[in-house]
Each structure stands twice: as structure tokens, then as C-alpha cells.
Amino acid sequence: MNIQQNTVSENNFEQCIKCTICTVYCPVAAVNPDFPGPKQAGPDGERLRLKQPDYFDASLKYCMNCKRCEVACPSNVRIGDIIQSARIKYGPKKNTSLRNYVLANTDLVGSLATPFAPIVNTAVTLKPVRYMMDKVMSIDHRRIFPKYAHGTFTSWYKKHAAASQATYPKQVAFFHGCYVNYNNPQLGKDLIRIMNSLGYGVNLLDKEKCCGVPLISNGLYKQAERQAKTNLSSIRLAVNDHDMDVITTSSTCTFTLRDEYPHILNLKNEDVRDRIELATRYLYKLIQSGEVQLKFKEGMPPLRIAYHTPCHMEKMGWGYYSIELLRMIPGIEVIVLDSQCCGIAGTYGFKKENYPTSQSVGEPLFRQIEASGADLVASDCETCKWQIEMSTTKACEHPLTILASRLA
């Protein structure tokens, strides 16, 4: 008798046994009654949408794509992927407002803003400007904008770092992402300093575009797909032609390159996926293998650091590496904060309609940070950093920036 061995369904949606753990763990469902929760929006809704596409509910836009539902799911259902894919497949096709376009195009806006960084940075702090952005573009006036750097990371790299990289015995490629390029070139410089001290030259990819995560969450799927293809061919070039691993400092960029490309954009990447690495994990593994050793400054003052695990870090299961890396630094005490969403979810928290949800989601985390007695918060995600710095009294830095500051 030909009994079905395994049932197979896209994103495993039929593996759902309705245990509802995902909804319990959903940060949005807990604070926003308009969001039906991942079970309803995901596997349950998918069945109805397969019946008739107009069962698509606009409230799916409230999903932050944090993937905490997928982490919680005991049945391996890719709930977050189901929701994102449904938005692509059944959602409004032309829903890109000017606001969403501006928020999504981090590359374009970044390259326009960086030459005038001092002016832009001041302007977005002015009350009338923020009031106008709120009214005209529905970007919440309470949201504090990240600062743009005066000059990009890539232009600095070409002038000051490119030439010397070939002198190192080993080579690695760096997917810097928009944040390093336009907002925080220092993090890129820190990474180069660390890698160089271990004998690794750091190279840029042939062509790099924004990983696409803000495009996906703002409905610009075609553009996301185009950029992903550019990135994948650059990554293939680095991996196949130059035998270099590709590392990134941002947990979300890493996650997108590795998992969102095949799951959401249907772009195959299994040939290079294992070579795309989060910088902290890459470093940790290098050190653990005994191949390299970090040398730290002596006599630095003690520092109490609270580590916040970003959602996509949680999804990859890699928070451990950043935490252990920080623990290797002499004089540093690491407290691990409860793994919970900070609420910003990339561009989500910038939107006026999401601002209250965003801040309510992050509230327990903010309280824990304030009560932790930490001097500094550390996190591998740039948008978590913005949210934490805006919503608490603490500064938030990337683990590698902290590490670089104590390097001998």
C-alpha cells in the first residue's frame, strides 16, 4: 500500500498543529489587537488564501518579520516566511507610498545624505522638520533619526585601506551593508583593524547593494530581487574565484543574505550560503580553532555590558558567539538581557501608525536595560541600537567596536 511517507507543503504550513505557541511569543500580537497573530496570519490564513486570494487581510502589514514565531514553533513551520510571502503574492501590488520608498531605499537616501551629513543630521532634529515629516510622510515625529556619516565607508576604504589589504596572508570579503557605509563607517574601520591584527586582509565585494530587507518589508519586491541578484553574483565571485569567506557585521544583513533570499525571494544560494558569515561568529570560530589570538590593552577600566540579542540573531541562533566574544575581553562583565524584540524592526518603527506598537513592544526591554546597571549596551543590529539609544539612557555599540577599542 502506497502510504504517504511525508506530507510536504510550502513553508511547511501543513505541519502546523495549532499549538499556538507562535502567537504567545509574537511581540506584536501581545500589544496590537489589530494583528491577528502569526498562527492566524500564517498557516491558518494561508489555507483561506489558497481557497480565494481575497481572503488576504491587510493587517498582515503589522508583522515585523522578527521571526520569533519561527524560533518558537515546535513543528518547523516557517510562519514568518508564510506571512512575508503572502504579502508579496496576495498583497496590494502598488502600495509604495513616498514614505515607504524613502525608508526602503537606504542605499539611495544614504548616498544622497552623506555628502551633506552635517546639514541633514541637524535638520532631522529640528522640531518643524520632524513635524512636517510626520504630517506629510507619516514618519512619527517622536522617532529620532540615525545620524549620517560625513563621507561613506567605501570612499574611506578606497583612499585609506584598499592598498594595504593585499599584504596580509589571508583574505576575507566584507559585506558592509548600508549602516556601515552611510551611518557608521567606524564599525567597518574597527572590523578591518581587528581582522588585520589577526593577519586577514579585508576586501570589498565587486558590487554591493543594500541586502534588500527594507525593500521587502516595504513592498518593493522587484527591486529587492534585482539587488539580491547583484549581491549573490558578487558573493559568488568572492567565494568561487577568490576563495574568500564573506563576513558582515549586521545580523539582519547576514540573515537576509543567507535565509531570506531563498525563502522569500526564491533565489537559490545553497552553493555559497555556508560561506556567508556573521563577523562575530567568524572571529569566535577563528579564535577557538587556535589559529589566531587577540591581544588586548592592559589596565583598561572595568566595563559592565548588557548584551541585547536581536530578533534575527535569535532566529539564526548565533547570539552565543557575540556574547562569548565580548567575554574574552579582559575587564568586561557581560550581562545577557532576556531575548526579546526591541520593537523597531528596521523601518517598521519609523512609521507613524506603528510607533505606539513599536514602543510598547520594546518597553520590557527598556526597563530591563535601565535596571541592569550596565555602563553600555551591546548588540549586532543597527536598528536595535537606534531604538535602544532613543528609548533608554544607555548608549549601544556593536560588540566589534567594543572589542576594537580594547585591542592592543
Binding site: 500500500m1 502506497n2 502510504i3 504517504q4 511525508n6 506530507t7 510536504v8 507543503s9 504550513f13 501543513e14 505541519q15 502546523c16 498543529i17 495549532k18 499549538c19 499556538t20 489587537p33 491577528p36 498562527k39 492566524q40 498557516p43 491558518d44 490564513g45 494561508e46 489555507r47 483561506l48 489558497l50 481557497k51 480565494q52 481575497d54 481572503y55 488576504f56 487581510d57 491587510a58 493587517s59 513543528s75
Partner: protein
């Protein structure tokens, strides 16, 4: 005199409900008696296929013509119960493609629209179809929800003065000389006997009609043929898929509501087994093996349930051996046939022709009562189908999208009767099928719901992938609130609902369906303490 009616209808399937509606519309005072709930027999245990008639075009042109006529009528009068999906009759390499020409010609003769598609076009409009197909013909097949169809007939019958008593079993036909004058019944909930009188008693008991006729000492030879079906977890196909060859086992895949159905098998069973439907492993095997040929996806799609119904096939009167079977409508006037006045049997036929069966029956009743009122059921839309979906959409704009679409698909224009003034009423009882508290309360108040299984037939609670895991206890809570019953009975009702769900899962209990049912068992047995003890108490 009390308990006096013009007619008494025995049987609450589609036919009985249709007769009750037709009679009421013609001003005849009707009482409908059903030993269980409405649509529990063959009505609720079939494909839910809105036949175009194409399936019968070659072998039974008369049925084909009836089907296509009723098909077009149901699209108008029961729009909210019908999905106009269209269907494909596909030829596979193992089939004779020559048959297609015969088939198309037969359809043309019966008045069934056909369109020959090349295989590529067929794959484009129905991606789930077997990609090795060599030909396809598009026909106006569709899907029909038998539960909503029967319920709508009952609602309209009641609105026009009919009385409906469910859980009322006929134990005796009261006979005065050569005339049936009434029935003696047993009320299965109040546990009492009652007597009702009428000028005409209609036997609309489907396969059970043989037993009912026997109470009048009349022989009607039914030939019970069991048909088994499998329900898949979600919609696989959006067009009905059939094989373009002579009808056989497991050659129809119907997209019905949120699921797809493959069926059926056909096996003769002894009459004394009609209340004992068991799906055999062989039947599951045939359904899967043949079904995969229509859509290879069936091989790896989760199966929700298996179930079987009994076709009410009748042996022709002129053939005492009982071999010659009629699939058509059989209307027996026992005054003519057996010299028994006041008694009619309506049987045979199909879900598709329930309305026509009701029309013929009511015409005969009219003749017997000396009335001359024309039938209007082919023109008057059923409750639920009097307004277009768009108009209803506008009225219930404020409901969440998914819920809005779901209630309209179930209740049509009656969707605006469902309370939704606050978020509590909009909270979901059944999450798989989007059934709200408001909808459950509406069903309990207005649609003669006596237990959780009845509630399922009116609202689809428990019909989704979780098969009652989350909704059963919530619905039980709401039932208890409306009509405080003793805890023991409430628990028994809950257990019987869950056991009924399990009965359908047992024949296909593997993979995720088994995993989910184990989880359900754990929730109810280990967490809630719902034990075997409660199951033994009978419900109703």
C-alpha cells in the same frame, strides 16, 4: 385539532428540506421529521460537486440533462452555496483520447457547454493537474455546500410556516384501513412519544426509505452502495478535476470550501450495514492511487479525514431481481403502486436534483390535496442568495476582511444577522475556518442547534485542520452559556464531538494528522481530564 398537518415529511436531507420548502411556498402546511440532525445522511456525505451533468453525458443522458438544468438553477437560487469553479475532464496517456470526441458530442446533445483545451492551456488554468495529460475539456462543474443548501431550504420552509422537528424518530406509520393518516414518533431529546396526523405522508428517508416504507408494509428495494472519500488539508485544485472516460472509482477531485475532496469508491453493502460506515485500508489505497493520477500533489498533501456515504439507489420495479438500477429520480405513489393512500416515497436521484425531486413530489401532493398552485422554487432565491455578495460586503464592511469573506461564503446575505458590535463578538471560536462568537451564537439561536456536531454542520467549526482541537471547548462553553445544561451532559457532548472527529481521522491517521490528533488528545484527556467515562453517556 393540534398535531394536524397537510403533509408530514420524513427525512431531513436535501430532498426532505426541499419538499418542505416547496410545500410551504405553495401554502401547504408541512411538518418535517428527522431522526437525527438535518443533512446527516447521504446529503452530508458526498462530494459536494455541482455536477454539470458531463459525468453522465455518455452513459445516462437523462441524468445529464437533469443535472445541467438544475446546475443552472442552483447558481441562481442558491448562489451563496455554490462556487462557480468550472471543471476539467482530463485524458491521461492510459486513456483513449478518442473518447473525448464521444464525450463532447454527448455533452452537446445534453446541452452542456464544453471547451476543448490543449494540455498546456489546461496546466496554465489548473496548475495542480497531472502534467502528463493528453487532453482536457472544460465544463460548467462547480462546488456546492450541501449543509448550507439544506439549511437554507429549512430556513425558508420555516419562514413560510413549516414546522421542523429534528431528533424525532418515526416509530410507526398510523394506518387506517388502506390509508396512512399519520405517524407516531419518539422524541430523542425529551424522551417521549407523540402522534402527528396529515393527509399525506412523504417518505424522503433516502437509503433509510426502505425501512420507513416497511413500516407501512410496503416493499421498496434499496441497493445500498457505499462511496468513500478523502478530505485533503487545503485547496489543491481550483477547478474540479475528472477523468475523461467512463465513470469509475476515485476519478473526481473537487475543491470544496477550504479543502479538496477525492472520491469515490463504490461497493455494495448489505442493507443492515447502512448505519455502520467503516472505511477500509483498501478504499483509502484506491482513493490515493487513483487520485494521484488526477493531481500528483495528492501523494504528499496532508489528509484530514476519510468518510463514506450510501447512495440511495433503487431497484427498478419491473425487475424483481433488483439488478437493474436506476440512478434517476424515483417517485412512488403508493396509492397507485400498492393501493396505500396518503403515502408517497421520493428516493433515488442526487444532491444535484434535490429541487426537481421536491418539485415532482409537491406536484403529486398538490394533486392529492386537490390544489393547483405552480412550483416557484426554480425562480425564488433561497435565503442567503437574495442579495449579491457585493451588497452584503457593503453591509458588513466593519468586520475583519477574512471573517467577512468567511461568513458571506457560509451565510450569504444572512451574514448581516450575525452580531459583531464589539470585539468579543468578533473573537474567533474556530480559527481554522474563521467562525466568530457572534456566528456561533447566531447559529445556536436561529438554526436549530442541539449539540456541537449540529453546530459544525451550520458553521464549519471543527472542520479545519485542527479538527476541533481549539474550537470544541470554546464552542462547548458558549453552548453551556446559552442553555445551561448539566456538566455531565456538556462533557459528554464534547467527548462525542471529539470522537466523531477522530472517527474520520482514524482511517488516515499518519503523519501530521496523527501528530495533531495526539496533541488534541493530550489537551483534552491529560490537561482537561476529559476521560472515557464521559463518552459512555449518550448525548441528545
Amino acid at each position: 385539532m393540534e398535531n394536524n398537518y397537510d403533509i408530514i415529511i420524513i427525512g431531513g436531507g436535501a430532498t426532505g428540506a426541499g419538499v418542505a420548502r416547496d410545500c410551504s411556498l405553495r401554502g401547504i402546511k408541512a411538518l418535517l421529521l428527522e431522526r437525527s440532525d438535518i443533512s446527516t445522511g447521504a446529503t452530508g456525505r458526498n462530494h459536494g460537486l455541482l455536477h454539470s451533468g458531463a459525468r453522465y453525458a455518455v452513459t445516462d443522458p437523462e441524468s445529464a440533462e437533469e443535472c445541467i438544468r438544475e446546475n443552472m438553477i442552483l447558481r441562481k437560487i442558491a448562489a451563496h452555496c455554490v462556487e462557480e469553479t468550472d471543471g476539467l475532464f482530463i485524458s491521461l496517456p492510459e486513456d483513449d483520447l478518442q473518447y473525448q470526441a464521444t464525450f463532447v458530442e454527448a455533452c452537446r446533445k445534453a446541452g452542456i457547454r464544453t471547451e476543448i483545451l490543449d494540455p498546456e492551456e489546461a496546466k496554465r488554468i489548473e496548475p495542480s493537474v497531472n502534467p502528463t495529460l493528453t487532453g482536457a475539456v472544460r465544463v460548467p462543474d462547480g462546488a456546492v455546500d450541501p449543509f448550507q443548501l439544506t439549511a437554507a431550504n429549512i430556513i425558508d420552509a420555516k419562514a413560510h410556516g413549516a414546522e421542523v422537528r429534528t431528533y424525532t424518530k418515526v416509530i410507526e406509520l398510523i394506518r387506517e384501513q388502506d390509508r396512512i393518516v399519520g405517524v407516531r414518533t419518539y422524541d430523542r431529546r425529551a424522551h417521549c412519544e407523540q402522534t402527528f396526523y396529515a393527509q399525506v405522508v412523504v417518505n424522503a428517508g433516502g437509503i433509510w426509505g426502505q425501512g420507513i416504507a416497511a413500516k407501512a408494509g410496503i416493499t421498496v428495494n434499496m441497493l445500498p452502495a457505499k462511496g468513500a472519500l478523502l478530505i485533503f488539508g487545503h485547496r489543491i485544485n481550483n477547478l474540479v478535476l475528472n477523468r475523461c472516460r467512463k465513470p469509475t472509482d476515485a476519478d473526481i477531485l473537487v475543491p470544496g470550501d477550504t479543502i479538496s475532496l477525492i472520491g469515490t469508491t463504490s461497493s455494495k453493502i448489505p442493507y443492515d450495514q447502512i448505519d455502520n460506515m467503516v472505511i477500509t485500508p483498501e478504499e483509502v489505497d484506491i482513493l490515493l492511487r487513483e487520485g494521484e493520477k488526477l493531481s500528483p500533489q495528492l501523494a504528499y498533501t496532508r489528509i484530514l479525514r476519510a468518510y463514506a456515504g450510501v447512495r440511495p439507489l433503487v431497484a427498478s420495479d419491473d425487475d424483481p431481481s433488483g439488478r437493474k438500477v436506476s440512478r434517476g429520480i424515483v417517485l412512488l405513489d403508493h396509492a397507485q403502486r400498492d393501493g396505500m393512500e396518503g403515502f408517497i416515497t421520493i428516493t433515488g436521484g442526487k444532491l444535484m436534483t434535490y429541487r426537481l425531486m421536491a418539485e415532482w413530489t409537491t406536484d403529486l401532493i398538490c394533486k392529492k390535496l386537490g390544489l393547483n398552485v405552480p412550483c416557484r422554487t426554480a425562480e425564488l432565491p433561497l435565503p442567503g442568495s437574495t442579495e449579491s455578495k457585493k451588497e452584503v460586503e457593503r453591509k458588513i464592511r466593519h468586520k475583519p476582511t477574512t471573517q467577512r469573506r468567511s461568513v458571506i461564503s457560509r451565510h450569504g446575505d444572512m451574514a448581516d444577522r450575525i452580531a459583531d458590535q464589539d470585539s468579543i463578538k468578533n473573537s474567533l471560536v474556530c480559527e481554522c475556518e474563521e467562525v466568530s462568537i457572534g456566528e456561533v451564537e447566531y447559529a445556536m439561536e436561529n438554526l436549530s442547534v442541539n449539540n456541537l456536531v449540529d453546530l459544525r454542520r451550520r458553521t464549519r467549526i471543527g472542520m479545519g485542520t485542527c479538527q476541533g482541537e481549539l474550537c470544541a471547548c470554546r464552542a462547548a462553553g458558549l453552548m453551556g452559556k446559552k442553555d445551561p445544561i448539566c456538566a455531565k451532559r456538556a462533557k459528554a457532548d464534547l467527548a462525542s464531538f471529539l470522537n466523531e472527529r477522530w472517527k474520520g481521522m482514524a482511517p488516515i491517521a499518519w503523519g501530521d494528522t496523527l501528530r495533531e490528533s495526539e496533541y488534541t488528545t493530550w489537551v483534552y484527556e491529560s490537561v482537561c481530564g476529559l476521560t472515557d467515562e464521559t463518552e459512555k453517556t449518550t448525548v441528545q
